[in-house]
């Protein structure tokens, strides 16, 4: 029954919306009632006000962060994929990179960022982008390697029976099999890129990204503005995630890959 299904979907959308609205209302009420100071928690209405009135500021900062995230992410995807292809061919490379990636993932981003910031001149966005690149690289490398390795054994055997060259096997079997994994990696990497760009900005460099604007706003007691910037950061994250999902849907529509982490 299409009507029954539609009704069910509608209810599933309405419930979280109602819940969210209730939380916002409670928030507003609570802050007013207990007279909570804005430096602890501003009212949703004041934040909303800033969202509207400072939209140009928000947009400028968001673009900087988004650019950093995007450049790092795209380069990280390219490098990660290329290296995964190479490592698939020469096994010892993957033996080398795996412990490195495990080690890096255990090290807090903040650490690597401080080191990188030291190595690049002031006023450069490179450190931030490089940071994003490194993190995205590992995510993509791990996932694409897994995809290349998990090629259907039957398909590979078939190609061997055709006396196909390694290159042909790679092109016709391994790569297509690895595609869903690549797009899973992109879906994971997208929000991470934004987070990493944000944290990188926080640790120095030019004054322009969201990671700089939020603490600046807080220090100058512009609390609702600070929270509005946080909202902008969330919006950037959502956009990246949405685009990654659309990309996946367009490129590998036959498989909504489950995310792995």
């Amino acid at each position: 029954m299409n009507i029954a299904a539609a009704r069910r979907n509608a209810i599933n959308v309405v419930i979280p919306i109602v819940f969210g609205a209730a939380i916002v209302a409670l928030w507003q009420f609570f802050v007013d009632w207990r007279d909570i100071k804005p430096y602890i928690l501003p009212t949703p209405s004041s934040i909303g006000h800033e969202l509207v009135h400072s939209i140009h500021l928000l947009r400028a900062a968001s673009i900087v962060t988004a650019e950093n995230a995007l450049v790092g992410m795209v380069l990280g995807i390219i490098v990660g994929t290329l290296l995964a292809l190479v490592a698939n061919r020469f096994r010892f490379l993957s033996e080398l990179v795996t412990p490195l990636s495990a080690a890096i993932s255990a090290v807090p981003i903040v650490v690597i960022v401080s080191i990188l910031n030291n190595m690049f001149p002031l006023g450069s966005q490179v450190a931030r982008r490089l940071m994003v690149l490194i993190i995205v690289f590992f995510v993509v490398f791990v996932n694409v390697s897994r995809g290349l390795r998990q090629s259907d054994a039957t398909q590979v055997e078939l190609m061997r029976s055709y006396a196909a060259s390694e290159q042909q096997v790679m092109r016709k079997v391994r790569l297509p099999n690895a595609m869903p994994f690549l797009f899973t990696a992109i879906k994971i990497a997208a929000p991470i890129s934004v987070t990493t760009a944000f944290v990188s900005e926080y640790f120095g460099g030019t004054q322009d990204g969201l990671g700089q604007k939020i603490p600046a706003a807080m220090s100058s007691s512009k609390f609702p503005l600070g929270w509005a910037y946080v909202g902008a950061a969330c919006a950037v994250g959502l956009v990246f995630f949405a685009v990654a999902n659309i990309l996946e849907f367009v490129a590998v529509p036959w498989q909504r890959a489950r995310s792995s982490r």
């Binding site: 209810i11 599933n12 419930i15 979280p16 109602v18 819940f19 969210g20 430096y39 602890i40 080398l96 795996t98 412990p99 490195l100 495990a102 080690a103 993932s105 255990a106 090290v107 807090p108 981003i109 903040v110 650490v111 401080s114 080191i115 990188l116 030291n118 190595m119 690049f120 001149p121 450069s124 490179v126 490089l130 791990v142 897994r146 997208a190 929000p191 934004v194 987070t195 944000f198 944290v199 926080y202 969201l210 990671g211 939020i214 603490p215 807080m218 220090s219 609390f223 600070g226 929270w227 910037y229 946080v230 950061a233 969330c234 950037v236 994250g237 959502l238 990246f240 995630f241 982490r261």
Partner: protein, 316 residues
Amino acid sequence: MTDTLLDAGTPGSEGVHDDVVLDRARRQLPVRKALMVPLALALFVVVWEGYKAIGPADGGSIFGWKIIPRTNDRAMPHIIDMLRRFDRPEVRGANQRTVLAAVIAATWYSFRVSLFGFALGVVTGLVLAAVMARFNIARKAILPYLVLSQTVPLIALAPITVSWGGKIHLFGLDFEKWMSAAVLSAFLAFFPVAVGALRGFSSPKESSLELLDSYAATWSQGFWKLRFPSAVPYLVPAFKLAASLAVVGVVVSEISIGLRFGIGRLIISYYQDGTSDPAKVYTAVFGAVVLGLVMAGLVALIDRALTRNRPMEAST
């Protein structure tokens, strides 16, 4: 007797053989992993010093973009200098503690705050996931937000804590500065745990759920005997993520709040001495690295404890 003989023919029936194979595999794994860490470190040192040897001292550019990092001693001290710096006093003067002592103290402090935040986030996440597994409406209302939380940089809230500092009075409790950092890190750790736990709690097969129904088991019995154990494979990666988020949350908060005893603050204050004492920053950086590794190690221990009797799964 005949049974065991008959069963011995069927594939996978070599129960005894499996034991031996499994033990051998189990013994191999930790040894290999232990070797990997020094190997990775050695590789890092080689890359660092190697680049330092061949790279341009003041950085360089490609097509006008300054993307080649600087290699002079200020920007990239020799590894050996960093190590030597540990031994000397923090600040010039008599009776000052050594950098090593300072870094250890700061790392220990931040570790405790991270641990607290991690634990708080994990417990909250598990409880919320259980509630969502039990009450469908709670799940429908909250799950979309949990999923969204994975896509937005919640870390953006960290600088907010700068204004909290020690000024929150909640439930009659005066927040100390470190509690703000702990709350933020708990907040960050909570989300992946809630998502992973819910997925895990919903993972049991239909037939296992039916089995429990056939025992007329209560929901609570079903939870502890089936849903929770089934969730373990989902909890472990969630814990890993939560641990790293907890650490990042604490370090960033420390910097915002100005938590004097934490490693984040130490990095920044050493950084400010950067021009005269470049190696010092890196000593604090080592401390933060150790912090991250210790938290990761802790999660690995939890992992081993929880999956002690389970079939081994292939790792990445």
